[in-house]
Each structure stands twice: as structure tokens, then as C-alpha cells.
């Protein structure tokens, strides 16, 4: 087992070194099977290779002590296949190959989700995922058939349609739905919060970190085939901004309502996909109105957020996995106080949370700032489409605040305070193999934040093929972009320096003074217990009360009488889309198929009759046509 493990880890790490050698465009035509790495693929290869490699190392440590995963060999087999197909998806240069890779990747990840298949919840999550993946693929199949119909081959070189707007819009919609399902955009996100928590943590890290990003890759790749960007209709941009705002705010609100740490992270992936599509929408609007700064910054922000989210979300999933591993529970209301038993994991989760909330000096801040810059450029233009950027700014601001509330809950309730259960009190730090990938990811988060000019430069390199040449230099408010990001770099460094200086000042001031320990002040009550703390439910109660649209189910037992004996309050959040839309849809389909059941009687005679009737019908049809 150790050998397989080491081999997979080494293999994946070797892979992660590979794309660095070939970031320039190249292609090997091989019959109709062609692979290639162009700028966009190279950009997506980096996070895939990195997160895949880190996930493999992490899995090495995770599987060694885990009792939940029964078959490590099974895991490694599908993990390797999954990883290979992920790489293939972004390097395929042929429609057929792309679809095969896409499908293989979905199947491999389905088996990975089902690793712990003895649990019924995992099984149902796996099936939900499989169905969603195939509904998405159905759209893609139609998309590639339509595209192939208008081109001599399925090869991506010279692929494209330039015809009327109707057909291009149809293709855009198909791509949006097909890839949107995979990316987890609202309202097609329902599989995501089921599948990600069910999978083992290294797999959820890879799925949430990079697999859903291949949906964004696919969308961008298809956009390249849809003719001249300046001819794209304006409503494409609106749609993306609208979906982005919906996914973002909806995703983070639902994330806020979760008590399960991994479910919370899964919903927050929905939010981040929203941020990315918001950026893409701003890009399209900017292209449409001929505002180069708005277009470029929107696209760069979206692309950089792809990277950033890959890093910090895999970091968060890995630390959540470490917590689940150490305590045996993922419920926030049973955790707490982990910062004492698991200082390193807590620090890693903290770094991930700060990045995810888009706070300086970490990497999430840079991509959000790019998006804000794009919106600002849109607002400052003299006329046309100014409401879209205002909507984007409002949505981003709201998302930022909600994400902050969400991760204050996740970190504050989950890792700080007093332990709420025996398991959490006795949690122990993770092993070296688990700690290393978390440390690397955390350092990358801070690194991208502090090396922002470099990251932005690389993003603009990746976006080169997608940016039409618009008149005018890319400036925001008279500033060119590199100068702008140097200033931001200075601000971030200044923030770090001030933090260090203040810390040192405090240390020096306290050096020769009396520092005592005591218990927490609870209004003079001297024996606070863990059960008196705020829980995740109580922390978010007020916020959810404001967002009544989501209709959380509340189990409430108010205190009654003068000397109340007991009072209880519990909230449960079921996905509103799941409840109001998908459940009804499935019930409808079930009812229709129930009616069809009458055809399937189970008697052989009837089936023979069906056969005869079909043959007869075909015969008549053939005769009718030959006349």
C-alpha cells in the first residue's frame, strides 16, 4: 500500500512540475486526437497540478490513519484516473477528446465521492452528483454536435461559428448551462453541497478547488469559438452578472446557515463561482461598450480568482478534513477550542478564511480589487450600461460582508472559545504529511497577495487570447495597471510591517509587567461553561432572520411560565432551490414515469407484441419514404 501511495504522490508531484516547462503555446497534432497547451490551458494547468499534487500528499497522510476509507487501493486508482482526466480536460484540443475527458473525469470523481459508500448519505450524494453531471454533459453533447456540424472536424484549430446571432446565442446558453452545472452556479448548484462533504477530504479539496473551475475553463474555451467578441450581444454580459450576483449572495447566505463545516465550505464554493462569473459578466459588458479597462480588469479578476479560490478553498477543505479526522465530527456546534489542541491546523484555517473573505494582505483581496476596479471603470464611463457595474459593486460588497460573517462563524465557533465536546477537547495535531500541503497552500495564499503585480501580469498573459483589441490603453482613472498594483503592493507590505511593529510594541511594553491568567468575564458569573457560549445557530440567528427569503426551518420551544423548565431553539437550512424547484421537478418526473409503467407489464407476450408493432411501424415508415 505504501508503494502505491508513494508512487501516486511522486507521480502527481512530477506532473505538477511539468506545465511550468511549457507555458508557451504548443500543440502536437496526432490524427484527430490532439493535445496542446495554450495560454488559457497553461493558466488552468497550474492550479490543477498544484492542488492535485498537494491533495495527493495530503491523502497519503489522511488514508494512513483513517478508518473510514476501506479501500486505499480503490481510492488511489480512481484518484490517479481523476487527476489524469482533469489534466486532459484542459489540454484536449479536440471536441470529441474533450467530451471523453470530461465524462471520464465525472465518472472517476463519482467513484471517489462514493469511497465511503457504506453510509447511506454518501450514496444518495453520489447519485445526485452523477445525475447532475450527466444532465450537464447532455447540454455539452448538443453543443459540440452543433459546433461540429458547422466545422469540418472537431479539432479546436480554426474551430468556430460566425453565423447569425441566434445560433451563437443558443450555443452560449448551452455552454452556460452545461458548464454552469459543473461549476456549481445557482440554480444548478444543488449537487455541490451534497457531493463535496460526502467525498474524502483530499477529494473535496481537488473537486472544490479545481474541478469546478474546469466549468469556467470550458465556458471560456467555447466563448473563443463564438466569433468576434465585439459582436457578442449585451445580454450575455447581463446574464453572467445576474447569475454571478445570484450565485454569490445565495451561495454565501446558504453557507452561513450551515452547521457542517464541509457543507459550509461547499456552499462558499458556490459563492466564489458567483464572484468569478460576475467578473466574466463585467468583461462581456466592457467589451460590448468598448471600455478596455472594464473588460480587462473584469476578465483578469475572474481568472485570478480562479487561482485564488483553488488555493484557499483546497486549504480550507484540507484543514476541515484534518479537524474531522482529529475529532470525528464536522458539526460546528460540537467543536470549539481547537486552537489549543491543533494550533497549526487552526492557523491554516485562519489563513484560508482571511483569503476567502478577500481581506488584505492575502490573495482573495487582489482578485476582488480587480473586480471592483472593473466596476469602477464601468461606472466612471460617460454613458451606457452603468447600472450593471453598480449592481456588481453592491453584490460584491454584500457578499464580502456575508462571507466575513460566515467565516467568523466557521473559525470563531469551530476553532476558538471552549471545546463544546469531549472529542474537541482532546483533539491532537495532524501528522507531518497532512501538515505540509496545508502549509504550502497557506504560503501561496499570502504569496499571491504580496506578489500581486506578478500575479496580475501572468493573468493578463493568460487572458490575451480572450481580449479583443479595444481602442485605448487600459487605464483606470488615468492610472496604468502596473503602477496601480505596485501601489497596492506597497499598501499590503505596509500593513504587514505595521502589524509586526505593533506586535513588537506590545511585547516590549508587557515585558516587565505583571501578566496574569484568569477566567473569562461573564458579568460576574465565575464559572462559565462551554454550553454557555454562543453557538453557530445563535451567532447567525439575527442575520438569517433578515434573510427570511431562505425560509429556514426553525424548531423553537419558547420558555413558558414564570419558572420555565426548558427552552430549545434549532435551525435547519434546506436549500431553497432544492426544496422549491428540484424536489417538485423530480416528483413531476416520477409521476410521469409512473404512468409509463403501464407499458411495462412484465408479460413476455406483450413485449413480443411491442416488437412486432415496432417492426411494422418501421416497415411502413420505410415504405412511405421510398415512394
Amino acid at each position: 500500500m505504501g508503494a502505491i501511495l508513494a508512487f501516486a504522490a511522486a507521480g502527481t508531484v512530477a506532473w505538477s512540475g511539468r506545465p511550468m516547462v511549457i507555458p508557451i503555446p504548443w500543440a502536437i497534432p496526432f490524427g484527430s486526437l490532439s493535445f496542446g497547451v495554450d495560454r488559457l490551458s497553461a493558466f488552468f494547468l497550474f492550479p490543477i497540478a498544484m492542488v492535485g499534487g498537494l491533495g495527493a500528499v495530503y491523502a497519503g497522510g489522511y488514508l494512513r490513519r483513517s478508518s473510514g476509507v476501506q479501500a486505499p487501493r480503490f481510492f488511489w486508482f480512481f484518484y490517479s484516473i481523476f487527476f489524469a482526466f482533469l489534466l486532459l480536460v484542459v489540454t484536449a484540443r479536440n471536441g470529441l477528446l474533450f467530451l471523453m475527458a470530461w465524462e471520464g473525469r465525472s465518472l472517476a470523481s463519482f467513484f471517489l465521492v462514493m469511497v465511503e459508500h457504506r453510509e447511506p448519505t454518501v450514496r444518495s450524494a453520489g447519485w445526485t452528483y452523477l445525475i447532475a453531471a450527466h444532465l450537464g454533459t447532455a447540454c455539452l453533447l448538443a453543443l459540440f454536435i452543433l459546433l461540429g456540424d458547422r466545422n469540418p472536424t472537431q479539432d479546436f484549430e480554426g474551430f468556430g461559428v460566425s453565423g447569425r446571432e441566434g445560433i451563437r446565442s443558443l450555443l452560449f446558453l448551452l455552454a452556460l448551462i452545461g458548464f454552469g452545472v459543473k461549476a456549481g452556479m445557482v440554480p444548478w448548484h444543488v449537487w455541490l453541497p451534497e457531493a463535496h462533504p460526502a467525498a474524502p477530504s483530499p477529494v473535496s479539496a481537488v473537486m472544490s478547488g479545481v474541478m469546478i473551475k474546469t466549468g469556467i475553463y470550458g465556458l471560456l474555451r467555447i466563448m473563443m469559438f463564438l466569433g468576434e467578441p465585439t459582436l457578442w450581444p449585451a445580454w450575455w454580459g447581463w446574464t453572467l452578472v445576474g447569475l454571478g450576483a445570484l450565485s454569490g449572495v445565495g451561495g454565501v447566505l446558504l453557507a452561513l446557515a450551515q452547521k457542517d463545516l464541509k457543507r459550509l465550505l461547499a456552499y462558499s464554493s458556490v459563492e466564489n463561482i458567483g464572484v468569478i462569473s460576475l467578473g466574466l459578466g463585467l468583461w462581456l459588458c466592457g467589451v460590448r461598450v468598448g471600455n478596455p479597462a472594464m473588460a480587462a480588469l473584469g476578465l483578469w479578476g475572474a481568472l485570478l480568482h480562479v487561482w485564488n479560490h483553488a488555493v484557499f478553498k483546497s486549504l480550507l477543505f484540507m484543514s476541515a478534513g484534518a479537524v474531522a479526522h482529529a475529532t470525528g465530527t464536522r458539526s460546528l456546534d460540537r467543536l470549539g477550542g481547537l486552537i489549543h489542541g491543533m494550533p497549526f491546523t487552526s492557523l491554516a484555517f485562519f489563513a484560508g478564511s482571511v483569503s476567502l473573505c478577500g481581506l488584505p494582505p492575502f490573495n482573495g483581496f487582489i482578485s476582488e480589487l480587480l473586480l471592483y476596479g472593473s466596476a469602477l471603470a464601468g461606472i466612471l464611463q460617460p454613458e451606457g450600461l452603468r447600472r450593471i457595474p453598480v449592481l456588481a459593486v453592491g453584490a460584491l460588497g454584500l457578499m464580502g460582508g456575508l462571507a466575513l460573517a460566515c467565516f467568523a462563524t466557521a473559525f470563531g465557533i469551530g476553532f476558538l472559545g471552549q471545546a463544546r465536546s469531549e472529542e474537541a477537547a482532546q483533539a491532537h495535531e495532524v501528522s507531518f504529511l497532512i501538515a505540509v500541503p496545508m502549509g504550502v497552500a497557506a504560503v501561496v495564499c499570502l504569496g499571491i497577495g504580496l506578489m500581486s503585480p506578478l500575479a496580475v501580469a501572468f493573468t493578463s498573459f493568460a487572458a490575451f487570447d480572450l481580449m479583443p483589441i479595444l481602442p485605448g490603453v487600459i487605464r483606470v482613472g488615468g492610472w496604468e495597471i502596473p503602477a496601480l498594483f505596485q501601489r497596492i503592493l506597497v499598501a499590503n507590505v505596509a500593513l504587514c510591517v505595521m502589524l509586526v511593529v505593533l506586535m513588537a510594541a506590545r511585547r516590549i511594553l508587557l515585558l516587565h509587567r505583571r501578566v496574569e491568567e484568569s477566567s473569562t468575564w461573564d458579568c460576574g458569573y465565575a464559572a462559565p461553561t462551554a454550553r454557555m457560549q454562543y453557538t453557530a445557530s445563535s451567532f447567525i440567528w439575527d442575520i438569517l432572520a433578515m434573510a427570511r427569503v431562505l425560509r429556514p426551518r426553525v424548531k423553537e420551544c419558547r420558555p413558558l411560565g414564570l419558572f420555565p423548565r426548558s427552552a430549545r431553539l434549532g435551525t435547519e437550512e434546506q436549500d431553497i432551490f432544492q426544496r422549491l424547484f428540484y424536489n417538485r421537478l423530480w416528483r413531476g418526473i416520477e409521476r410521469c414515469s409512473d404512468r409509463l409503467r403501464r407499458l411495462q407489464e412484465g408479460r413476455n407476450q406483450i413485449y413480443v407484441l411491442y416488437l412486432a408493432l415496432t417492426v411494422l411501424a418501421l416497415l411502413l415508415w420505410k415504405l412511405g419514404f421510398s415512394q
Binding site: G401, G417, A491, E517, W521
Partner: protein
């Protein structure tokens, strides 16, 4: 305008911001018919606090003391982007308002975590309220500043505020004042003033901001108070700049005008605090919503 004056105004902000708290206290004392604490009382408090040792709860970790530090560092960083009157800030770039808002968010995030770190129910309650109100206030703040940006066609805070008086004459003062009113309401929310939060309340159950720092003492609470003073200065400068069309060609007068505006805002806050009670907590979101409506109206008017 020479850059030297930008640094002078920054230095003034750092030194004079505690005085702002003193002015508010004095105003409230005047309306209550009391003598009140001396104007310099906040300075005396700081001297006292920074000479103390510390008492830490056994439940706490590094997050507990990192909160006040991050809060103060974030406030200092944001202050470098905020202009005083028409004097540009020491640093400026397009979209720096987002830098200001996000670094303030960083401070808030760490303060909320520090509150949760103690495991106290009261601090959890305060933290919950803090995130709830600030998440509503942030988009409002963005929209109102963007309105001013549309009016002035400026991209950074310094550009926006530097040209506001001219636009007040040309485009009518109503848009700018609507946006300024929204920023003023955000000031009350962000700085935990009445009618959102009562900084002098004695009952933990009704507190927001004070409940979060119940366990902090000594140097830590000193950092918290100083960060709060800087934040108040920053928002007062933004409100004053939008309301008073004061502009002069001589930088010295400009600085004096800016400082006068900031203290006028402090007096106004004191008057508001003396004349009304704290709102019930469930009414606070409506107040922020009102600010949001003001900001949106201003924006629609500006971008018509």
C-alpha cells in the same frame, strides 16, 4: 497642493483623533447640564492604559491579542487614503475606497474573532450584532462613495474630495448632500454611536461594540480605543468633506477648514447622542436601509 500638507494632515489625524472623543463627551455633558470630563480625558486614559500590565482569560489564544493590533494597523492603513478637506491623502490610487473598506473589514474580522476567542456568551452576542450591521453598512458605503465618484469623475478618494466644491456649484448640492447623508449614517453604524449602539451603556445585554471587548484590558483596550478614535476621524473627514463646500487656495486655511469640519461633525454626533435614545436592535437594519435608499437615490440622480 504640496505633499507636505498631506503628511501634516495625516499627523494631525493621528494626534488629534482622541480629542474627537473628548469633544463628543463635552457636547453631551453640555446638553445634560453637567461639567463633564476634561477635553483631554481620552489622552489621560491612553497614558493610564498603556502603563498597565495584562490579565488574560485561560480560554484565549493569540487571536485575542491579535484582534486589537490588526484593528489598529488596519485603521492606520485606511487613514493614509482618506483626504482631509481638500488636502489629498498621503497615498491614493483609483479604487482606494475599496482598500479602505477592506482593511477596515480585516480589523473587524479579527476583533470579532477575538471576541469569540473568550468563549463568553456576551461577547459572542456583541460579535454577532457587529457583523450583522456592518455587512449591511458596507454596500451602502460603497454606493455613496461611488455616487460622489460619478459626480466628480474622480477615481480615488483624494480626487473625489479635491474637486467636490467645484461640482457643488455646477451640478447642484442635493446629490452630494444625499450621498453625504448616507455616509453620515454609515458613520453612526461603523463607529458604534447612538442611535445604533450606546457606547456608555452599562448593561452587557444591550451592547454591541462594548460587549465585544469586555475581556480586553490594559494595552489591548488601549489599542482598541485608539483604533476606534482613528476610525471616527476618518469617517468624520469623509462626512465633513461632503457637506462643507469649503475650499481655499491657501493650504494652511485648507487644513484649518478640514479640521474644523471634522470637529463640527463630532459636535453633531454629540448633539444626536444627547437628543435621542438608542434604537431597538431590530430597528437598526431599517436605519441602514434608509441610508441605502438615500445613497441609491443620489446615485440615480447623479447617473441620470
Amino acid at each position: 497642493m504640496t505633499p507636505a500638507f498631506s503628511f501634516v494632515s495625516f499627523g494631525l489625524a493621528i494626534t488629534l483623533s482622541p480629542l474627537l472623543l473628548g469633544v463628543i463627551q463635552k457636547t453631551k455633558a453640555f446638553f445634560a447640564g453637567r461639567e463633564g470630563a476634561p477635553l483631554m480625558q481620552p489622552y489621560f486614559d491612553f497614558v493610564k492604559l498603556f502603563r498597565k500590565g495584562g490579565v488574560y482569560s485561560r480560554t484565549t489564544s493569540w487571536v485575542f491579542w491579535a484582534g486589537p493590533i490588526a484593528n489598529l494597523a488596519a485603521a492606520l492603513l485606511s487613514l493614509t487614503f482618506v483626504p482631509l478637506g481638500r488636502i489629498p491623502a498621503p497615498a491614493a490610487f483609483p479604487g482606494d475606497v475599496f482598500m479602505v473598506a477592506y482593511s477596515l473589514s480585516l480589523g473587524r474580522f479579527l476583533m470579532v474573532l477575538a471576541a469569540l476567542d473568550t468563549g463568553s456568551a456576551f461577547e459572542g452576542m456583541g460579535a454577532s450584532r457587529e457583523v450583522r450591521f456592518s455587512l449591511l453598512a458596507e454596500p451602502v458605503f460603497f454606493v455613496s462613495v461611488l455616487t460622489l465618484a460619478v459626480v466628480t469623475q474622480g477615481a480615488s478618494l483624494s480626487e473625489i474630495y479635491g474637486t467636490l466644491p467645484r461640482h457643488m456649484v455646477h451640478q447642484g448640492i442635493s446629490t452630494i448632500w444625499l450621498a453625504g447623508g448616507a455616509v453620515a449614517l454609515v458613520l453612526l453604524v461603523e463607529n458604534a454611536r447612538i442611535p445604533v449602539d450606546d457606547p456608555t451603556t452599562h448593561l452587557e445585554l444591550t451592547m454591541i461594540h462594548e460587549a465585544m471587548v469586555l475581556d480586553h484590558g490594559g494595552i489591548d483596550i488601549g489599542f482598541v480605543q485608539y483604533g476606534a478614535a482613528l476610525k471616527l476621524w476618518m469617517f468624520s473627514a469623509l462626512v465633513a468633506g461632503a457637506f462643507f463646500p469649503f475650499s481655499s487656495a491657501r493650504p494652511f486655511l485648507e487644513v484649518m477648514g478640514g479640521i474644523g469640519g471634522v470637529f463640527a461633525v463630532a459636535v453633531a454626533v454629540g448633539i444626536v447622542e444627547s437628543s435621542m435614545a438608542r434604537l431597538r436592535l431590530i430597528r437598526v437594519p431599517q436605519l441602514i436601509l434608509l441610508a441605502g435608499v438615500l445613497a441609491l437615490m443620489a446615485l440615480l440622480w447623479a447617473a441620470r
